[in-house]
Symmetry: C2
């Protein structure tokens, strides 16, 4: 086993601070181009690497404008505005053969202690140890980097199982184990198969167009979670003429809601 | 009554296509600066006004980096990438005395007919006609442009009423009546009072940091809705050290989910 975790290899960057260079490794390949969660991780890594960055990630929006080629990319980072406790970032990822493939914005912030509460409490489910690990044969490469234990809404690829709803629940963590950080939390927020696969129980053309993840934790919360599995839930709200949405929640093992995430997905059905 | 609807006055732009000029009217003023929904409307108006724009809005993310001054602004619009059926846009709103106040990204798309379904069905509630219109005395100016009929989760400003949850439901429409379009649908997706007001039932410092709205409709769906009220629901999922999220759904009178919207909000409590 390499001393560097595969996820760190995938999102590694050089250069900076106005332009960073990177290349998602084949280990995080998807159907077409690399896994969107790893692309998001590389973008967030660029913000976190920037020497003027203050505070922790609060939100990031990643717009997938074109599939990436299996080639190096540039990430141009602009600090649009720096306030006393928040910073606003703009990012563009481009490749020589593709042009601009991704646009993104991110916000970092210094948090202050306040009244706090998880209002969306974690559902009562089987513990991770009691749920078998999902096999990953025949799956795109990126899936092998996660240990997924499906509780509900698995994809069977048997259209007779077509579902009345699109909700999935699973336990998920990096494999090999890796202490949770903002980049991996972002990547995991994109780990759900397209909701149309759950509804139709078949493979169909589908791809994320835009993803927004909100972080509800900080260094202490990440440290507490460490390498334990996250309880993850996703569901779609409307499928309409070629696009559907997905809303997701990621709870830590102690029941704290660590992130919420939303995306809009292209599909053909 | 002026021949031009107040909302159209608020989001009116001149110039273009690389830079548009505008100024939110005092009718859409908020506590500090203009109403975020009207700012979003002006940004989306810039995209829709652009001569190279194709298709309808699919999503928009608006990052509120600084309060706007009561002054004119510039909106710089960049078409980042144009695909066969989608376009990716980047926007920056700036003012002479403020600098960059807003960054945004938007996606427009040509839709194709597909299998479609509203999975998040509208809750069974009283019809709008049976619910009294919320009084707007003492409220910021923008509230007077909407007819709101609260079904649940009203803000009473009486801390003894502090709520166990942050869910609000209401019927909402422009007043005077105005046929729904993408800009007004976006503006309405920001019409909810901060969720911390509902939980604590008191006024506290709070302001939207970033808003993302997904559109699930098209010209035909908007025409069907016309000037009828929307059923709107919002709730928070986690309040943590100075920030909380809000997820919202906006259904048309026929039960179709026209938009879903998410935001992250700064608060002190």
């Amino acid at each position: 086993m390499s001393a560097v975790h595969p996820f760190d290899e995938a999102i590694a960057l050089t250069g900076g601070p106005t332009t960073y260079q990177g290349r998602i490794t084949p280990a995080y390949g998807n159907m077409v181009g690399p896994y969107g969660g790893a692309i998001g991780g590389a973008l967030l890594n660029a913000v976190l690497s920037h020497p003027e960055r203050q505070g922790d990630p609060l939100s990031i929006t990643v717009n997938y404008a074109a599939p990436l080629a299996d080639a190096p990319f540039d990430i141009a980072v602009t600090l649009v505005r720096s306030n006393r406790s928040t910073q606003h970032w703009q990012l563009l990822l481009s490749q020589e053969s593709v042009g601009v493939a991704i646009s993104a914005t991110a916000i970092t912030a210094k948090r202050r202690e306040s009244w706090s509460q998880t209002e969306s409490v974690a559902p009562n489910v089987q513990t991770a140890a009691d749920v078998p690990v999902m096999p990953n044969q025949g799956m795109p490469a990126w899936v092998s980097n996660y240990e997924m234990r499906m509780l509900e809404g698995a994809v069977t690829m048997q259209p007779d199982n077509a579902s009345e709803h699109s909700r999935s629940r699973l336990w998920v963590k990096d494999t090999p184990g890796r202490p949770l950080d903002f980049c991996s939390l972002l990547a995991i927020s994109d780990c759900f198969f397209p909701r149309i696969f759950v509804r139709k129980q078949q493979m169909l053309p589908a791809g994320t167009i835009t993803l927004t993840t909100y972080f509800h934790t900080d260094a202490a919360g990440l440290k507490q979670q460490d390498t334990a599995p996250l309880l993850a839930e996703a569901k779609g709200q409307r499928f309409y003429n070629g696009f559907f949405d997905q809303s997701a929640r990621l709870w830590g093992t102690n029941g704290e809601l660590l992130a919420t995430s939303h995306q809009l997905v292209y599909f053909k059905a």
